[in-house]
């Protein structure tokens, strides 16, 4: 099968028509496409092999991190239609209603609606050879599906744009009934209110996109607003067509892979990525027309064509994207949209609700009741797709594809898919509740870039540390440096992204395939895996021994997998890695706490004192829960604290052979008092531990390499990072 597809694709690249029947435009750049294809074919072949392996004799896949990663890396064309049916629940729907699709076609249809459909059918993918003929082509099928759907869903009936979606579904499934049920899943479960007459869903999501852009790329937002361009002009088609007819076909299919499996969040990720990744181009456009033109070209350029990298960027660039946050944004934006609508057309019922707009706590409550979830299935499953995942998975991260997930996505934990109970799951859930959870790194990078554009170098320079070796360089050089590092990161992700799940198979197949030496390859293909393994191993060593191998749901595995980390922290000056396991602060998102660090030195000569009064109220409730731990405190304060952290963060004695500077027991009550503590100290979430009866005491922590102040160290041996660059 894999071979067949490869053959098919490699042939098609020479043709004027691609493998889906789309004609190449006259200005199609065959050379750059071939360049991309030559690389992508390797990926496709590997994916095809992997998928065959995954599926084996089965027709279906379950849910879980491995499947998710596989899907993010693209479902091979031969499996795509079937997998969409499987993972979206369309097959179940279809099987539950045998003969239903056929029966719909015989029903009479409202003449106006019929006219709408009739007009749009010949206007669907005019550049596709299959959409030119009713008899031989797919136009007849397209009409059948659209008519059947109009009869099936009277509220939606038909909405322009649906023709493209149904068309693409037909191209992939090659089966009317399958296309119909996938269509039903999309329009009613995955994207409620998108295609209803008031289009509240689309209007809401356009606003959500705008507010995310405003937050993450304020310069773009300002720029666009300055020229009086509204976001509905830029993004309506993106959302209505789910990027079909917008992005290159292969890229659209990759997005839809994720859409069917993960839900509608991926659409927002794609939109944000498109905007953020093209910041420079957008800002360079200095006229109303140019900006609109720019938004059109960015959906067709080389970056968009290179679907593999594009999808990778979609999950990397859009960064942390908690569902709760999205739901909240949607709620707000929807209220705005409705208020405006009510203003214009008074008296119209406003009974439209996003399924995922349900009160978050409610959602959380329900999502925790996995069994219940399983039963109700349907819409809930779509909007808390965590519910589809296995028990452990769901328990330890409320938001399956945030940063956390990105790191999972990247890490090569192929052989290990069940997760131990995450010691910090409670906190993780709580932090997901935070209203303002966004990717600081991205924001920082974006603003940095913006600053360069605007030549606001001076304010930038202020941020730079004193003893840094880079501070002698020009600002531009620093910028370059940072970008370089970013690129470096990207490359790292790239390789892992492509190769992470290869190692074990590579070995088994070496007999049939000639193994090229590293010299021939000009790189060591296993290097990244080795690096990753080292990192994993290292991080695993932090795990408390009793947690290892402990599984929920009775899954057995010889190796424990890693807990999630909210980020990898680096020194802002020299970009040395400081920490790989940390937790982000619930409120102060540029703050992280951790117990295991690298390249850090604690400056005992400097002590910072922080009065704990502010915290007391907050902690009253927390402490209540922790009465037990508090009891034995007076005697062996140190020990009890350690015990407690066993519950929160894993403790390990094993630090031999690493760069960790082993914390010494903090000498309380000594040192000079400083009230001018860093902002980090004003809200040490982590210090919600026992023993904060008196003032909090902190020591400053410096980067070992360049001596930049990066964190404070508390008496509980927890590092509170506040001056770091994050990466994932």
């Amino acid at each position: 099968m894999a071979q067949g597809e490869k053959h098919h694709l490699s042939n098609s690249k020479l043709n004027d028509v691609d493998e889906y029947g789309f004609e190449r435009p006259s200005d199609f750049r065959y050379e750059s496409y071939e360049e991309f294809m030559s690389k992508y074919l390797t990926v496709l072949t590997r994916r095809a092999r992997k998928w065959s392996h995954l599926l084996g004799a089965k027709e279906t896949v379950g849910r879980g991190i491995k499947v998710k990663r596989y899907i993010r890396k693209g479902i091979p064309l031969v499996h795509r239609g079937k997998m969409w049916m499987e993972v979206s629940g369309a097959r179940k729907k279809m099987e539950a209603h045998p003969g239903y699709y056929k029966s719909l076609q015989d029903l009479p249809l409202n003449e106006d609606l019929m006219e709408c459909i009739r007009v749009d059918i010949p206007r669907t993918f005019p550049d596709n050879i299959y959409f030119r003929d009713y008899k031989e082509g797919k136009l007849g099928s397209l009409k059948n599906v659209l008519v059947a759907f109009s009869n099936h869903n009277k509220e939606i009936g038909y909405c322009q744009g649906l023709n493209y979606i149904a068309g693409l579904l037909l191209i992939i499934t090659k089966n009317e009934e399958c296309a119909f049920w996938l269509f039903d899943v999309l329009t009613t479960d995955l994207l409620p209110q998108y295609y209803t007459p008031d289009m509240v869903g689309v209007l809401t999501d356009i606003r959500v996109l705008e507010s995310i852009v405003k937050e993450r790329a304020p310069l773009i937002w300002k720029h666009v607003a300055h020229y009086g361009i509204t976001w509905d002009l830029l993004a309506t088609k993106w959302f209505i067509c789910l990027f079909a007819e917008v992005l290159p076909i292969e890229t659209v299919l990759r997005i839809w892979d994720c859409l069917f499996y993960e839900g509608n969040k991926v659409l927002m990720r794609v939109a944000v990525t498109l905007v953020v990744c093209n910041q420079e181009k957008i800002l360079m456009s200095q006229e109303f027309v140019d900006i609109i033109h720019c938004f059109k070209t960015i959906t067709k350029d080389a970056d968009a064509i290179n679907c593999h990298t594009f999808i990778e960027n979609v999950f990397r660039v859009s960064g942390s994207f908690p569902r709760a946050r999205l739901a909240k944004l949607r709620e707000e934006c929807e209220a705005q949209v409705k208020a405006e609508k009510d203003k214009e057309t008074r008296g119209k019922p406003a009974a439209y609700q996003y399924h995922n707009n349900t009160d978050y706590t409610e959602t959380l409550k329900i999502s925790k009741k996995y069994k219940y979830q399983k039963e109700i299935g349907g819409n809930w499953r779509k909007f808390n797709s965590r519910g589809m995942a296995d028990d452990d998975y769901f328990d330890w991260s409320d938001d399956e594809d945030d940063i956390i997930c990105t790191s999972k996505y990247i890490s090569s934990d192929e052989e290990d898919f069940s997760f131990p109970i995450k010691p910090t799951s409670k906190r993780s859930n709580a932090s997901n509740k935070a209203t303002d959870d966004q990717n600081d790194f991205e924001r920082e990078m974006a603003s940095e870039l913006s600053m360069t554009v605007q030549h606001l170098a001076a304010s930038f320079a202020k941020k730079k540390p004193q003893n840094s070796s880079t501070n002698t360089l020009a600002i531009e050089a620093k910028d370059k440096d940072k970008k370089k590092t970013e690129e470096g990161d990207a490359k790292f992700y790239d390789d892992v992204y492509f190769d992470s799940d290869d190692s074990e198979e590579e070995a088994t197949e070496s007999s049939s395939r000639r193994v090229m030496s590293n010299d021939e390859l000009l790189y060591d293909p296993t290097l990244d895996d080795k690096d990753q393994a080292w990192v994993d191993n290292k991080r695993r060593s932090y795990q408390p021994i009793q947690k290892r191998g402990m599984k929920r749901g009775g899954k057995s595995s010889s190796r424990s997998s890693l807990p999630q980390s909210d980020a990898v922290l680096n020194c802002p000056a020299c970009l040395t890695t400081l920490c790989m396991d940390c937790q982000r602060h619930e409120i102060y998102h540029n703050q992280y706490r951790a117990m295991f660090v690298f390249n850090c030195s604690i400056d005992k000569s400097e002590s910072l004192r922080f009065p704990s009064k502010i915290q007391k109220k907050k902690e009253y409730f927390r402490n209540k829960k922790k009465k037990k731990l508090q009891q034995g405190e007076t005697d062996s304060e140190q020990d009890s604290r350690q015990d407690q952290f066993m519950n929160l963060v894993p403790v390990s004695d094993d630090s031999a052979g690493t760069e960790i500077s082993q914390p010494e027991s903090p000498n309380e009550g000594t040192g000079t008092t400083r009230d001018t503590a860093s902002p980090a100290v004003t809200a040490p979430e982590a210090s919600s531990s026992t023993g904060c009866e008196g003032d909090e005491l902190y020591h400053s922590v410096n980067c070992k390499i360049c001596n930049t102040k990066v964190a404070v160290y508390d008496k509980d041996e927890v590092y509170h990072f506040f001056n770091v660059v994050t990466s994932y």
């Binding site: 006219e115 749009d120 669907t124 007459p197 008031d198 609109i292």
Partner: protein
Amino acid sequence: MEDYKFLFKVVLIGNAGVGKTCLVRRFTQGLFPPGQGATIGVDFMIKTVEIEGEKIKLQIWDTAGQERFRSITQSYYRSAHALILVYDISSQPTFDCLPDWLREIEQYASCKVLRVLVGNKTDREDRELPTHVGEEFAHRHNMYFIETSAKEADNVEKLFIEIAKELTQDSKVGDLSPQDVSNVPLPPTRETRSEFPCCSRWMSSSSSAT
């Protein structure tokens, strides 16, 4: 910065499939693509024309025809200088919807907007609506009228050039200089329009508008 004397915003509305996008593409790009996909949301094109030696920039907004898209397209009527209401001469239903569209215009567009009724697809042999029907409708509703064929490039250039001429004239009379579209809340005044429902003028004048 491109040099131009006036900038006008022209919005095309009308039922789905009447040929709005084709009119715009014919005018701005000189193309009539054999297959034209349905417009989703709002599209935008620009063309600079020369009227009496002065450069006039036309910002042309192409909208999706389906009723439910009106919530998105309405906001574009408001600041329009001219509205082109298009129907398909071979499709009675597209003509029957015109009163609905007029209500939209009344509600959302400036009352002083230049309104043009366009019967498109004159190349079609299955005409359902004779020219005089459109003409009468336009006359009754105080609109300009013209029949076009985007396919044959018939009257398309003229349609836009006439609009540009009218708007330029009005701007000069009304002493408005809408150089910057974002600063033009109202289109130029059109006090004389009711006295000159110029449909006949447009229909009869030679097609060499430039």
